[in-house]
């Protein structure tokens, strides 16, 4: 039997390569979004620090603002530097 493909639709999935499932700040999963956002993905990305810990970008921004002028990782308290 010969099959002729007339049309096809590619489907891709992606996920963050993270060591743990939830953001340590909001406790929501990384494959979801932070509590301020509606949709996961480009608009609510995950950020990594040089200490290797990661959080939702919006959660991290709020934490750094609340902690001013210090900038520490909410998990290990090392100086926070974006990786």
């Amino acid at each position: 039997m010969k099959v002729k493909i007339k049309k096809w639709t590619g489907v891709g999935t992606w996920s963050y390569k993270v060591d743990y499932d939830n953001c340590g700040i909001c406790r929501q999963p990384f494959h979801g979004c932070c509590p301020y956002c509606k949709w996961p993905g480009e608009t609510c990305p995950v950020v990594w620090g040089q200490c290797t810990h990661c959080f939702h970008i919006h959660c991290m921004a709020k934490w750094l603002k609340a902690q001013e002028p210090r900038e520490q990782c909410p998990l290990c308290r090392q100086k926070w530097r974006y990786a």
């Binding site: 340590g24 909001c26 406790r27 301020y36 909410p74």
Partner: protein, 199 residues
């Protein structure tokens, strides 16, 4: 209350309820009605400390900015400890102030308070009178803290000598807690306690 605070508290409640410590009745959390901002906590006094066999109630207030700011915690149960005010229950603990981190949880706070009961920091006191006694007369501090545990927190160790001194003051018309405070602060010296109360 902001979305993030309410959602996180809900998750933290489940975390505490399922924790090993809760199964062992060592820590407890209860919501005050349906309000996420007011939580009642309870910790068991750690073994081999003057707080052993006592249960200490805590008032936990969650700010709208949680978890970016720490919860406000104080002891409701009266306690004799260098880092807790014997009058107001206010607590001196770094993680409840400038050392708070957003990844910490209520479970961490309760366990840290339990650790504080096991290892006081007399050089960073919340109650200078207690801290002074801790440093100057450790044995007397221990029996005083144990006595407070029995009187206020359901501890089981009795102290007939202290009971007798309290009753002497009660017979003079002094209110019970006032008598306990005065005697504790005066190293259980009746004359000095009397002087403090009636001066």
């Amino acid at each position: 209350m902001s979305n993030i605070a309410a959602q996180r508290i809900q998750r933290e409640f489940n975390e505490v309820i399922k924790s090993d410590e809760a199964q062992k009745f060592s820590i407890k959390l209860e919501m005050d009605g349906s309000d996420f901002r007011h939580i009642n906590g309870e910790i068991a006094g750690p073994p081999d400390t003057p707080y052993e066999s006592g249960n200490f109630k805590l008032e936990i207030k969650i700010p709208d900015t949680y978890p970016f700011n720490p919860p406000k915690v104080k002891f409701l149960t009266k306690i004799w400890h260098p880092n807790v005010s014997s009058v107001t229950g206010a607590i001196c603990l770094d993680i409840l102030k400038d050392q708070w981190a957003a990844a910490m949880t209520l479970r961490v706070v309760l366990l840290s308070l339990q650790a504080l009961l096991a290892a006081a920091e007399p050089d960073d006191p919340q109650d200078a009178v207690v801290a002074n006694q801790y440093k100057e007369n450790r044995a007397l501090f221990t029996s005083t803290a144990r006595y407070w545990t029995t009187v206020h927190a359901g501890g089981k160790q009795l102290n007939p000598d202290f009971d007798k001194k309290i009753h002497t003051l009660l017979d003079l018309g002094v209110e019970k807690h006032q008598a306990l405070v005065a005697l504790s602060a005066c190293d259980w010296n009746l004359d000095r306690a009397l002087e403090q109360i009636f001066s």
